[in-house]
């Protein structure tokens, strides 16, 4: 759905055609639900939050100025609701399990040895589940940006607007998130042991 189409529907809804809102729901419900689902890790909570996001978007539709896509505005609403929800449900326990990695320290950069492994061997259902669950062990900013990119397939621009960061930050944060996720997967044995845990000097040597 293009931005113009979104605006046309919004105008209809504001003019009294409430049923037209269904088109906006249909176009965005999967992304909204998946975003909430991965952020909360609970299907029921995700359903509640998704519903609340759409209702909130509907009630505030008149204040929507069209400066961004409706879908992006909706993602931001959803994201804020998720953050509120998570804050209220105290995530301290999961925080303590967070995989910690010094982002700025290249010494910790681990490279999985995937040279000899056929891709099929890695992508078993079990592996997929471990990979997606391992996202939860990232810190919040890395987790949410990976969810937005990988699961809801949001563009860099959309992520930037939703998280209120510029695209350069989206790019670098995604890179760090992926790097840390690889580290987690190596530590779990999902990815084969790194054939070497690189120090910065060694990485420099590779070219």
């Amino acid at each position: 759905m293009t931005k113009a189409e979104e605006l046309e529907i919004i105008k209809k809804v504001i003019d009294g055609d409430k049923a037209a809102f269904e088109e906006l729901v249909l176009a965005n419900q999967n992304n909204v639900y998946n975003l909430a689902r991965k952020m909360t890790n609970n299907d029921e909570d995700a359903l509640d939050i998704s519903q609340e996001a759409f209702i909130k978007a509907y009630t505030q539709l008149e204040s929507f100025r069209g400066e961004s896509r409706f879908s992006v505005w909706l993602y931001r609403l959803t994201y804020n609701l998720c953050i509120d929800f998570l804050r209220k449900t105290t995530r301290q326990a999961t925080v303590s399990l967070t995989y910690t990695d010094d982002d700025d320290d290249i010494v910790n950069y681990e490279i999985p040895d995937l040279r000899e492994l056929p891709e099929d061997a890695l992508l078993t259902e079990e592996s997929r589940q471990i990979i997606t669950k391992s996202i939860d062990e990232l810190n919040d900013s890395h987790r949410e940006i990976l969810i937005m990119r990988e699961i809801t397939q949001m563009s860099y621009e959309e992520i930037g607007i939703t998280l209120n960061i510029n695209e350069g930050t989206v790019k670098s944060r995604l890179a760090r998130a992926r790097k840390n996720l690889v580290g987690i997967l190596i530590s779990k044995g999902t990815f084969p042991d790194s054939y070497r845990q690189k120090a910065g000097e060694e990485v420099e040597d590779c070219v």
Partner: protein, 441 residues
């Protein structure tokens, strides 16, 4: 920086299809010769494939329940009553700072008493409102009155600070409707964007650590020491080197870049410059928001170096009497300090961070705080624990929760956060949102 490290940053963008054609070609060529980077690419691809397949379809009940509520009229467009609920009074920073000091001082004594007292007041308020609403059988705006009274607590005079202590965080409860509502005014986008540009270095710096960034605002002890070192010998390269090496901070002088208006000074002509001749400073006073400079009578701001106001909005105040000196005021100066050299010349030194060998010094990370602008701070994870010591005001805007803190408090809080936190500050004046700054942890 090694080539591989640069590629590693690009691999993520590569699988997202975000590279320009030349970058794409370059990295694809690199993959052919570098097994490490190929392995990283493969791991990212596997992650992408696995995670994208974990997306599910939204349950049918989602759309049904939403549309039922809408079509039945259960939900309607919200009226924008946010202005009506806005408290016209605002707390001054001085008051906030004084209150903050008082809060800290009494914290130990009242740690146990306050929650009990606050809980009692809270319950009493609810009971009174309930009683009123039942007795009068009206739907009066009890929420508004409670909200305003909570907000007004922060605005009490210092002399009443103990009695006006905001309720500790833990006892605020989850009922958002009881919280003050602050408006979201979006009419001043020009101002908003302007200040966003001022704060852009936070954004551009990507994932730099918060502690480094926020040091620029609070001027950590190490920086102060380094500046003192420069004062001992202007143009002394070794002092600068010490500062640079020890704390990764480059102290740079203020008047620069415009060689037509300044003259080189000292041994290190590349760095140190004489102040513009049109500006003859007599005296300088600094406070948190402004630099007041007394200048000799006849100072012509038109001929002053433009850079002098680049750290904040400048204002030239004509002297009232001939005997007086003119004043020149820089509002909201960026962090830095004035130093007097042996010739009684004044210099404004600006702290710059993360000296980049290729790009040269970059403007340091700073936020300027205009008058009457307050900080609303939204931090994840560590916030509750930290905020307990500051007794912030929890407020709501369009359903989102924020904490109202003084600017000083915001700075203190940020400086205590770890790297893994995102800090989200909304600078707000009485007209609404002024600027949004997000520091990336």
């Amino acid at each position: 920086m090694s080539k591989c490290l640069e590629y590693i940053e690009l691999i993520s963008a590569y699988i997202d299809g975000q590279l320009e054609e030349d970058e794409k070609n370059m990295i694809e060529a690199h993959f052919k010769e570098c097994e490490d980077c190929s392995s990283i690419l493969k791991s990212y691809e596997i992650i992408s494939e696995a995670t994208s397949k974990s997306a599910v379809l939204a349950p049918e009940s989602l759309k049904t329940s939403i549309m039922e509520k809408i079509l039945s009229g259960e939900v309607e467009f919200a009226e924008d009553d946010s202005i009506a609920t806005q408290s016209s009074s605002t707390i001054s920073d001085e008051q906030a700072a004084q209150n903050l000091i008082k809060f800290k001082r009494v914290n130990n004594i009242f740690t146990k008493i306050i929650p009990i007292a606050a809980s009692f007041i809270f319950v009493t308020l609810i009971a009174i409102n309930l009683f009123r609403s039942l007795g009068k059988n009206t739907s009066s705006s009890s929420q508004d009155s409670v909200s305003l009274s909570v907000r007004d607590n922060v605005n009490q005079d210092e002399s009443n600070a103990i009695g006006s202590l905001p309720t500790p965080l833990d006892n605020l409860g989850d009922d958002d409707s009881m919280l003050p509502q602050i408006p979201e005014v979006l009419d001043n986008f020009d101002e908003l964007n302007e200040l966003e540009l001022d704060s852009d270095y936070f954004r551009q710096d990507d994932d730099r650590s918060v502690s480094t960034d926020t040091g620029a605002m609070s001027v950590p002890p190490g920086v102060g020491n380094a500046a003192q070192g420069i004062d001992d010998g202007i143009g002394d390269e070794s002092e600068e080197q010490i500062a640079n090496d020890s704390i990764d901070v480059l102290v740079d002088e203020y008047y620069e870049f415009d060689e037509n208006s300044v003259d080189a000074l000292g041994e290190n002509d590349d760095i140190w410059w004489e102040p513009p001749t049109g500006l003859d400073l007599v005296d300088i006073e600094m406070n948190n928001d402004n630099i007041d400079m007394e200048v000799e009578d006849g100072f012509d701001p038109e001929n002053a170096d433009d850079d002098i106001v680049s750290a904040g909005a400048g204002e030239h105040l004509e002297a009232e009497n001939e005997d007086d000196d003119d004043d020149f005021m820089i509002h909201n100066p960026a962090p830095g300090m004035f130093i007097e050299d042996d010739e009684d010349d004044w210099w404004y030194y600006q702290f710059e961070y993360d000296y980049d060998e290729e790009d040269g010094p970059r403007p340091f990370a700073s936020i300027t705080f205009p008058d009457n602008v307050y900080a609303y701070i939204e931090i994840y994870d560590e916030l509750p624990e930290l905020l307990k010591y500051y007794y912030p005001q929890r407020v709501m805007r369009n359903g989102d929760e924020y904490y109202e803190v003084s600017r000083q408090t915001a700075i203190e809080l940020i400086s205590q956060l770890s790297e893994n936190n995102d800090v989200y500050i909304e600078m707000v004046n009485e007209d609404g949102i002024y600027a949004i700054v997000r520091l990336v942890g």
